[in-house]
């Protein structure tokens, strides 16, 4: 087991090495303004046997939980996803795609994960061009982290008396993101949690049988920095091994950057059954010059709401919404089914936005037309649904020949990264809600009011019966008066009979 605890400050906020006190596997430092990332790497044979068996069915599995609380991203922890519970999965064999094992386990670990098996509940990701994409995707807007926290305490804390360990597990409730990543090649599970940029005390304690490395870092700009690189400097300490922190400075290529602007998303009123999500972007200028850049929005839409790819194929229509085109939508998306018969989690889509062409930067909007599914009837006639914010970023092409090897803070398999070429850099725009304090919007969906449904069955039956009876009565009237025979020909027969006489 290995652990890496990283405090990350902004550029120019470095601390003095002398302020870090290292004593017998415990590191203490001053209170600083920083983001924090904890990463635990667990070899597969260190896991409980049931989890080992579960991971044995996977070629790769990435679970990414993102808090719906807005947070400021700090270099280099820049990759963003829509808030919610994301899962990317490649089964070890096709049989595992139809097995309910993964879904059962997810339900135990996270509580109320609405999936039956990957084949039915997940969507497939395109794997033709970029093989690094996982095979299946799953998403839901929220999960309950408490079963996971209980499990973490049980498995990771040495005894129930270890209060500091339990407190650390409890802090996951406030994490801005939690990643659980496994792939068969590395044979290890990586648990990565991050907490937002805030005031916090530098503190770390080593744990038995665990190599713990603590970094107090800040972004930096060393002289030799290439345009596609990020620079980091700071202090590194291996607990129980180092007597004092060692200074470090390094640079690495990163596919995720900070566009240093923000956006908000809200629905146009009234929402009706065809709500339009309005994205307001603060800046219309690309984050870098002399590179081809265009803004994109990546949505993970729960099954209650969907986009119609046919509607999003007309250039005039797209232009009127400040959209360039629909770059990707997961398939299939049923355009008619009600929510309550739809098994798939929903759909993901990538839209290229079209910023106004102006010399100076200014705020602008793009509208995303969506459609609601019918939801189950409910008391009161309305059901509230949550529609998460998209991830918004400028996708810019890096120079020919640029390589992006893995870096210590790299995240891959985010759903959208596999939809771009390997030289694309994602300049993330920060979501900053103007209404409310969550990265999701609520829609009040009209449904059939079960309180008023008492008379529907009887009333419908009665109306149909009455209508039917009225027509039967009229038919009976015709039949009893004229029979079912042909009138004119009977008349003709009478004429014929007269002639014969």
């Amino acid at each position: 087991m290995r652990e890496r605890i990283t405090f990350i400050q902004k550029q120019g906020d470095s601390i003095e090495p002398t302020t870090l006190k290292i004593k017998g596997g415990v590191l203490n430092g001053p209170e600083i303004q920083a983001a924090r990332e904890d990463r635990l790497t667990i070899a597969i044979d260190e896991l409980p046997t049931d989890l080992q068996a579960l991971l044995g069915t996977a070629h790769e599995l990435h679970i990414r939980y993102v808090s719906s609380q807005p947070y400021e991203a700090i270099t280099p922890l820049l990759a963003r996803l829509p808030p919610g519970f994301h899962l990317f999965y490649t089964p070890a064999g096709q049989a595992n795609a139809t097995s309910p094992a993964l879904c059962l386990a997810l339900n135990q670990i996270f509580g109320n994960v609405q999936c039956e098996n990957p084949e039915k509940s997940f969507t497939t990701l395109p794997r033709d061009r970029f093989s690094h994409s996982a095979a299946y995707q799953f998403y839901q807007p929220s999960v309950d982290l408490s079963p996971f926290i209980a499990l973490a305490k049980e498995k990771l804390c040495s005894s129930s008396k270890d209060q500091s360990c339990a407190a650390r597990a409890d802090r996951l409730t406030n994490a801005s993101s939690l990643d659980i990543s496994y792939d068969a090649i590395s044979h290890a599970v990586k648990l990565t949690a991050t907490w937002p940029y805030q005031k916090q005390e530098v503190h770390a304690t080593s744990r038995p049988q665990t190599r713990t490395e603590v970094g107090v870092l800040n972004s930096d700009r060393p002289g030799h920095l290439e345009p596609h690189e990020l620079g980091i400097s700071g202090l590194l300490t291996v607990l129980g091994q180092d007597k004092k922190p060692s200074a470090t400075m390094f640079a690495f290529a990163s596919r995720h950057r900070d566009a240093e602007s923000s956006f908000s998303a809200e629905f146009l009123e009234p929402t009706g059954l065809h709500p339009t999500l309005k994205l307001r972007l603060e800046s219309s200028k690309p984050p870098i010059e002399d590179a081809y850049c265009s803004p994109h929005a990546y949505f993970t839409l729960p099954k209650t709401v969907f986009a119609d790819r046919h509607q999003l194929s007309d250039d005039l229509f797209l232009a009127s919404k400040n959209l360039t085109r629909l770059r990707y939508i997961s398939q299939p998306v049923d355009l008619e089914a009600p929510e309550y018969v739809e098994k798939r989690w929903g759909s993901s889509l990538l839209l290229e936005l079209s910023p106004p062409e102006h010399e100076e930067s200014k705020s602008w909007t793009a509208q995303v037309p969506l459609h609601l599914r019918y939801l189950s009837p409910a008391e009161g006639g309305y059901t509230d649904i949550q529609v998460p914010y998209p991830a918004v970023f400028w996708a810019c092409a890096a120079e020919e020949g640029t390589k992006f090897p893995n870096n210590p803070f790299e995240k891959a398999n985010l759903g959208y990264d596999g939809l771009f070429g390997p030289r694309t850099v994602f300049w993330h725009v920060e979501p900053r809600p103007t209404i409310g304090s969550r990265l999701s919007n609520m829609i009040k969906v009209p449904v059939l009011d079960t309180n008023k449904a008492e008379w529907v069955s009887g009333g419908t039956g009665l109306a149909v019966l009455l209508g039917f009876a009225w027509i039967m009565w009229k038919l009976f009237g015709v039949l009893s008066k004229f029979g079912y025979q042909n009138q004119p020909s009977q008349a003709a027969e009478v004429v014929k009979a007269k002639k014969n006489q």
Partner: protein
């Protein structure tokens, strides 16, 4: 939807010379029907090119997408929500054609748009042909040649296109008057709009009208082919089969009264042999052969998706979305309560008798048995209208394009209807029909665009109200058909 009688010109009105000129000769009527569609078509092209709100119907994009798949050698069912026979996609193959390299960019654009509009032109042309057939059927009379006395002339008349001796028959109509009634279809803005927006219902109109024309003019093989083909195309015309078969009795087709002058003793076997006439068997054979060979061919070409999308879809569909059908609210309610993953409130708690599972009964009893039995021999066009009206009114799903199914038959019934003899009654019926839809549409607008939960009681009551109005109208049609 205010499209029926008041909009229709009044043929009797001598004061209006313009109207009499319009109908006195065929050319002015058909030219104005053509111009109406041409203007709408061109306007639609303009709107599509200049507005994000499209004139073209979404269904047309489905058809043309499917045609594009076919042109690439793929299945039309590769396009989701394509729920039609592959023949429709084949017919629209020209919409996938593009201008060659020898054209300039502007000319190429014009050519491409023209080819893409091919389907709309086809549907609009089908409208015109349907209108012309309406005129022919009206001129022919509902029961031409109605009496045995005309039996000898039958062959010669057929060759002359049935133009001779029209005025002698009680039901045959003066051509200018027939054109005035055909104008209800030909100059109807709703009909013209639907086909120029690219909805294929106009094709159904021409098929049904051609079927009726073929039957009335005793072209049995042609009638069988048309019947088989239209059922393959859209299923619902199967309701016409019992009416046509019932109508085709021996006296009509041979001029002889079956069993006339013989002993009155009737046995089941004799009745059956009397019933199984050669023309009836011929019709059954040609229609079934057409239907099954088309289906067999399509199944061979496109396999299960063809069956699933064209036919089985109608068995499994839930129809939970709001529409005019009286069953709609009930279907939404029960479709949610069978789903195991959700608890849908009190209504779902106990398993109830489901009224909608028997919905097909009144619909099919009326449209395939009782109405044809009662009316077909007396007045075949009115029987077909009443059957279609019953089928649409009692259907589990009902949208405004279904109204076209009976609208094409309306001009044949209207001249001898109570709605025409009593103009007040006609206006009341039309007013109620429009009002019923208006109330429903208002509730649907609040739901769809304002997000108000109008399912209950608004939409439900509106759909029942519209249903009651339709039942009343149907009752009057049935009563008229018996006269």
């Amino acid at each position: 939807m205010a499209t029926t009688s008041p909009a229709a010109p009044r043929p009797k009105s001598k004061s209006s010379s313009l109207l009499s000129t319009l109908f006195s000769r065929p050319l002015p009527l058909y030219v104005s029907a053509f111009l109406l569609r041409l203007v709408l078509l061109l306007y639609g092209l303009w709107q599509d090119a200049n507005s994000p709100l499209k004139y073209t119907d979404i269904d047309y994009l489905v058809f043309t997408d499917a045609a594009r798949f076919v042109s690439r050698g793929e299945s039309p069912y590769a396009r989701e929500t394509y729920r039609y026979t592959p023949i429709l996609a084949w017919l629209l193959l020209p919409t996938t054609w593009t201008a060659g390299a020898q054209w300039g960019p502007l000319a190429a654009k014009v050519i491409n748009v023209a080819w893409f509009s091919f389907g709309k032109v086809l549907f609009a042309a089908a409208d015109l042909v349907a209108g012309w057939l309406i005129e022919q059927v009206l001129v022919m009379g509902k029961d031409f040649p109605s009496s045995a006395a005309q039996g000898k002339e039958k062959d010669t008349e057929k060759k002359e296109g049935g133009r001779k001796g029209r005025s002698e028959t009680a039901t045959g109509m003066d051509p200018s008057r027939a054109r005035a009634f055909a104008a209800i279809w030909l100059l109807n803005p709703m009909v013209a709009t639907i086909s120029t927006r690219g909805s294929s219902e106009g094709l159904l109109g021409v098929l049904v009208m051609a079927l009726l024309w073929a039957v009335l003019s005793r072209r049995i093989t042609l009638a069988g082919l048309l019947l088989g083909f239209s059922v393959h195309f859209k299923i619902y015309p199967f309701i016409y089969a019992p009416a046509i078969v019932w109508w085709m009795d021996q006296e009509r087709l041979s001029g002889l009264r079956a069993g006339g002058g013989q002993k009155k003793t009737s046995s089941f076997r004799k009745n059956l042999t009397c019933f199984l006439t050669l023309p009836r068997l011929l019709l059954a054979f040609t229609s079934l052969a057409t239907f099954f060979s088309l289906n067999f061919l399509m199944y061979r070409l496109y396999g299960h998706p063809f069956l699933q999308e064209t036919y089985l879809h109608h068995v499994t569909r839930i129809d939970h979305r709001h529409n005019f059908s009286p069953y709609n609210t009930q279907l939404y309610l029960s479709s949610a309560s069978v789903s195991p993953s959700h608890s849908a409130g009190a209504a779902a708690a106990e398993p109830k008798f489901k009224i909608e599972s028997l919905a097909f009964l009144p619909q099919l009893v009326l449209s395939t048995i009782l109405i044809p039995l009662t009316l077909a021999k007396k007045d075949l066009p009115t029987s077909l209208l009443a059957q279609t009206f019953a089928f649409v009114t009692f259907n589990k799903v009902c949208t405004s394009q279904y109204f076209l199914w009976y609208l094409v038959l309306l001009p044949l019934y209207l001249p001898r209807s109570s709605f025409w003899t009593s103009k007040r009654m006609g206006l009341v019926a039309l007013g109620l029909w429009v009002l019923g839809q208006g109330l429903w549409l208002q509730q649907a607008y609040e739901l769809e665009f304002l997000g108000r939960s109008t399912f209950l009681p608004g939409l439900w009551m509106a759909s029942l109200g519209f249903f009651v109005v339709n039942c009343w109208i149907l009752g009057v049609i049935v009563g008229d058909g018996g006269r």
